[in-house]
Subunit: 290 residues, 2 copies
């Protein structure tokens, strides 16, 4: 059979996977919105090495876009994605239509209540409700043993881990490091919205994060001072409009006043019409042992 | 191994069921809040005849009770339930603690939005959110092929069917007929809250439904006239306080003006401190063929 099998309905993908499950082969899922890039490839390669059967889902999920967001112009190229999946020996490319995923009377949502109204959730109300809902659906359709996620979407990772734990999904959540361009910009489908000057400015996110890491290593762990520095670094990029900069607990996403244990330093900013995010997990400075 | 195995943790029940699933044995689940009665027995017996492995869950789910409802006094007797399950050859009795099901940081809910604010949902805000959430958890923990439900809880049936469809749970929903006392009262754990006069009055629910069926058979299909009659019948019981009487579409739960296709006739009333519900599916009268 040629790989990947492109499957577009729920019933067909279930039929395809039932014998695999019956044979106790492990199933890995890389959930994507398509437009596969190096970030996705790192997940796919990890999944390929881990799983007997690797499924990539490719679905631009309408319920996670707010009114006025980039749902319509979000890049879509299924042929290109299928070609990439073939090169990576993906077994199944699951690319359902909107109608296949959301019937007219669709009316059941999965809602994570404590982690979703801050950071990206504050400027994208309803976004994470769409994410948790579609991921619950994908978990129920594919029934994977393992799922693969990018650290770039750190809040999404926290929300999905919480959902899996709270609702007892029998799915392991594996998180892979953020993949970056040579100049540090985190790879994202939305980078292609950037003009050349905005593209240059967008590196300010990673520069701010790297600088924070250095400052912390030198002994400054006070969050408010670090955040002032982050905002100043990003603000020096002419086209940047900061959405948020925050230093939080990686799981609870609660603000931390001081980096005295590993913290998530997360930023979001607009560059023209592109809203970009980035983050680093930063540990406190090594202290001399007593 | 003695049946049923009483299992109280998520990890233990998963270990118990993994080899069954690997051997492709079908798993049936009867979700209950314990206090097993003839209504549950009809589900258990159906499940026993259908499934290779039959699981009964026994969990008084705190999230589906509102403040001031009967969560604390809801009858609990695990030994008795285990004895009944043994008699019925149930394989696994899953009876987790509250802490096992809801961690302190629990914060993810399943919400069905269109069917849950009317009928019972109108007087029990949050009730169905608790139901859909715990059922999603039980489906993910047990991973049953089939689940068994009582028609007595008609709104719950509609909500669970909608949830299963919307979130693609790979679980069949089987609905069994309401089991009744000889005088017609639908069997419910809450019947034991009734004093002898209230117990007598409580038959008014079924009498009202039966009478409606007869009136419809005689040709009267106008919902408002039928509902007037239902309310009058229930009101004649001295202790009854009607919560609602409604004639609705069985799946959408939208009010119907006229019984021109099968409709759900549903009633709820208080008798003292017991809030009881009942319903009948009623078809339009036979019309002479042309």
């Amino acid at each position: 059979m040629e790989r990947p099998a492109l499957i577009q309905t729920v019933s067909a993908v279930r039929r395809r996977l039932a014998p695999e499950r019956a044979a106790a082969r492990t199933i890995g899922l890389v959930p994507t919105m398509g437009d596969l890039h190096e970030g996705h490839l790192s997940l796919i390669r990890r999944g390929r090495s881990d799983s007997d059967v690797l499924v990539v889902s490719d679905f631009v999920n309408p319920t996670q876009f707010g009114p006025g967001e980039d749902y319509r112009r979000y890049p879509r190229d299924l042929d290109r994605d299928a070609h990439i999946c073939a090169q990576e020996s993906v077994d199944v490319l699951f690319a359902p239509s909107d109608e296949e995923m959301y019937s007219e009377s669709f009316s059941t949502y999965v809602v994570q209540e404590t982690l979703t109204n801050k950071l990206c959730g504050a400027s994208r109300p309803g976004h994470f409700r769409g994410v948790t809902t579609v991921v619950a659906k994908l978990f129920n359709i594919i029934q994977p043993d393992v799922s693969y996620w990018g650290q770039k979407d750190a809040q999404q990772v926290a929300v999905i881990k919480r959902m899996v734990k709270d609702l007892d999904f029998p799915v392991r959540v594996v998180v892979c490091p953020t993949v970056r361009e040579p100049d540090g910009l985190a790879i994202s489908s939305r980078n292609r919205y950037l003009s050349p000057p905005q593209r240059k400015d967008a590196t300010s996110l990673y520069r701010a994060l790297q600088k924070t890491k250095e400052i912390v290593a030198s002994g400054e762990t006070d969050s408010s001072r670090l955040l002032t520095e982050i905002r100043a670094t990003i603000a020096r990029a002419p086209s940047a409009k900061i959405d948020y900069a925050a230093i939080v607990h990686p799981e609870t996403l609660q603000d931390v006043d001081n980096i005295d244990r590993e913290a998530l330093v997360a930023v979001a900013a607009w560059f023209g019409s592109a809203r970009l995010i980035d983050n680093l997990l930063i540990s406190p400075p090594d202290r001399p042992r007593k």
